[in-house]
Symmetry: C2
Subunit: 285 residues, 2 copies
């Protein structure tokens, strides 16, 4: 694709590759990192909210009551996300995320989450970047949760991070402008939302897409249905020893339809167990 | 800002400049170019919609009845935009815009709109790009209306165009994926929406902002309130002979509050009449 004059040549401005984040670039088990952030944030804010001691789903978080937390369902999770992610300016939220990501550790590997990024995917990112590709993250995770550390962890600048978002509002406070995060969902960048997010932010169709779950199905379809040579790839988590083994029965990183459709669409399915010599950049395994 | 080691040095990744489009980079009088597109599109589609001959605001368009069109108000304009901008795939809409922009001419200058871009602003864009700046369009106009021609006209690629949008939905038709444009407003990238759009798409605060109307007020505030050296600039249309003269009393390109606040915020106000040797890139004047 980079050989000028070759049959498959693609000019640099059209060399666009999109990467899912959770489970594709870094670990997503036993639960999404952003959920760990939200729960820690609820615990940190609890002294200012005495009512949480008796109100679900907050009570469940403060008492580490996983059953009650699950029972609160998707509405409970949304409530936790809004309480932990909204109500501050974008600058304040960025500082909160930076402080948390620098201090937090993964429960099993006992390392910072930013060391639990996959070494083979870092090599792939570097290889594509060295060959003139723009490498975008296209994640169901929060756009403002990823931007503060994506550049250091992956070499991906803020303007190449696409994700889910809540709304923000411009305010002048004593003459100083700020953007205040509102407790209202703006965009869910998952499943059929991924091609929508890609088109909105990039305005071109990517030529390569990398994912690991059904949340990436439509992004893989949209990318690989374009004209010319295309690459779709699924990271299959089948390595319980060095990382985790999960697919059709897992809620986190659920992989079912995309696995069934991989052969018909010509997507590469990578076995973490068989194909990867090293799993983590930090060498955790 | 580009002298490494200097007091005002800004690393390349933070060199972000934002430009309004209508009235800042190209002509916006006697009406926004995108409105001309919408009206032409309604006329082109009329044979498929016999009911438009008797229904406002369509009747007004087909009969060139400006009074009736004005009377239909903002609701009428939204109806015209939805009828002309929605209902097709993003690929189809791109082709429609490309065909129109190649053929349409400005009513006074009788030249393609893409030749009615301002020569001094092109020089500014080139100067900033040559000095490592990312130059974004941040416009109240439609993001998908601008992307098809912005790269050729301004050297600004699709991923650096930010604008207003309608929603799109991902669809599989006979196994082929497409994004279909829906008759529903997604985001208005104007006034207080401009800093919101900037933060959503770029994730960093620009260090230079260029506008010409009150629609750019909050973008100018947000940009120039940041730390370090900043540049805010307003193009003042005061040249009725070579272009147009308008500000506080004009509906299109209304400039009132931003002009009043320019001195206090330290924004440069450029007189088109006195400061520009050449107005149009095409040399139309």
């Amino acid at each position: 694709m980079t050989a000028d004059g070759g049959a498959d040549y693609v000019p640099p401005e059209e060399r666009i590759a999109v990467f899912d984040n959770d489970g594709t670039l870094w670990v997503e088990q036993p639960y999404y990192t952003q959920l760990a952030f939200a729960l820690d944030r609820i615990r940190a804010l609890a002294p200012e909210h005495p009512e949480w001691a008796t109100t679900q789903p907050f009570k469940a978080v403060l008492e580490n009551d996983l059953e009650a937390l699950k029972a609160s369902g998707i509405e409970g999770v949304v409530e936790l996300v809004m309480a932990s992610h909204a109500g501050m300016t974008t600058d304040e939220f960025e500082a909160i995320v930076e402080d948390w990501i620098a201090a937090a550790e993964h429960p099993r590997f006992e390392l910072p989450y930013t060391e639990l990024v996959y070494q083979p995917m870092l090599e792939l990112l570097n290889y594509l970047q060295a060959n003139g590709f723009e490498t975008y993250i296209v994640s169901g995770g929060g756009i403002e949760f990823m931007r503060p550390w994506a550049e250091q962890a992956y070499g991906i600048p803020p303007e190449e991070v696409i994700g889910s978002s809540i709304t923000t509002e411009f305010e002048l406070r004593d003459g100083a402008p700020g953007l205040v995060r509102q407790p209202e969902i703006d965009f869910i960048d998952d499943k059929a939302g991924k091609p929508v997010g890609i088109h909105r932010f990039i305005g071109r169709r990517p030529i390569a897409a990398f994912g690991n779950s059904d949340g990436d199905l439509q992004m893989l379809q949209w990318t690989t249905a374009g004209a010319g040579r295309r690459l779709g790839l699924i990271v299959h988590h089948d390595d319980a020893e060095r990382e985790y083994a999960y697919d059709r029965d897992s809620h986190v990183g659920h992989l079912d339809q995309a696995l069934d459709q991989a052969e018909a669409w010509g997507w590469v399915v990578v076995s973490m167990k068989s194909d990867w010599n090293t799993v983590f950049q930090g060498g955790a395994e």
